[in-house]
């Protein structure tokens, strides 16, 4: 097979750029893995912890609002029971908040499952990049190295011998 290479250094330069590409790929892979890890912590720990706390707080607020509402209803002023409108509004608001928190807790659980499912598929794609970095690109680099070395050796053998003629007199 004949070689058609005008500049062996061009192959070496490309080899250097391919190495840089592999380094960038490695850096991006690590960044993407970190993002996945961050998403798992967010969905599995941070969010459940947050909504659990909010639900407990909402439960306490509902208990306090219920007590205030019932106390108000028992109260009579000049023989009339109070409408307790403000207390009823506060009680309903506290009840809605608790329901929201409970729904969010369930929603977080479902999103956590979805995140893990999608992340598993995503990691499958990342595995092909990992193979590029660990196997394919090193093979490509080795191939470029072999090609450059062979061409350099060939060029060295076929380099014209230095002239032995005496220098011309001026």
């Amino acid at each position: 097979m004949s070689a058609n290479v005008r500049d062996i250094d061009a192959i070496r330069d490309f080899r250097t750029k391919l190495m840089r590409f592999a380094e960038e790929l490695e850096s991006c892979l690590q960044g993407l893995q970190l993002e996945l890890q961050r998403a798992f912590e967010w969905a599995d720990q941070e969010r459940p912890h947050y909504w659990g706390n909010q639900a407990r707080r909402a439960y306490d607020q509902l208990a306090a609002a219920r007590t205030a509402y019932e106390t108000c209803r028992m109260r009579t002023v000049a023989g009339h029971r109070s409408a307790c409108i403000e207390e009823k509004v506060a009680f309903n608001k506290a009840r809605r908040r608790l329901e929201d928190c409970q729904q969010q807790t369930e929603r977080v659980r479902k999103w956590s499952m979805k995140i893990h499912h999608d992340a598993d598929e995503f990691r499958g794609r990342l595995a092909s990049l990992r193979r590029l970095v660990d196997a394919d690109i090193p093979q490509a680099l080795a191939s470029l190295e072999r090609t450059s070395t062979v061409l350099e050796q060939y060029a060295e053998i076929h380099r014209p011998a230095p002239s032995t003629d005496p220098p011309e007199k001026a």
Binding site: M1, A3, F14, K17, L18, F122, L129, D136, S143, T147
Partner: protein, 74 residues
């Protein structure tokens, strides 16, 4: 929760791939034999294909995380 690092990684990968393509075009001007063609077929095509499959996957996971963030925050 902000998931901008995913899109940043996608941008970095695209930039790196563009630079590699450019470098290869320049190399091909000086290296024009069958071995160069074979190198392109064997290695560079594989890099292109693997990255082409990863870009939509990054967009997809980024979308999933974004939707989760919107639904699971206050």
């Amino acid at each position: 929760m902000h998931w901008g690092n995913l899109q940043a990684a996608e941008g970095r990968l695209q930039d790196a791939l563009d630079e590699l393509h450019l470098a290869w075009q320049q190399t091909r001007e000086a290296w024009q034999d069958q071995q160069a063609e074979r190198f392109e077929e064997t290695f560079l095509r594989k890099i292109d294909e693997d990255l082409a499959a990863v870009f939509p996957a990054i967009s997809q996971i980024s979308q999933t995380f974004g939707m989760a963030a919107r639904e699971c925050e206050e």
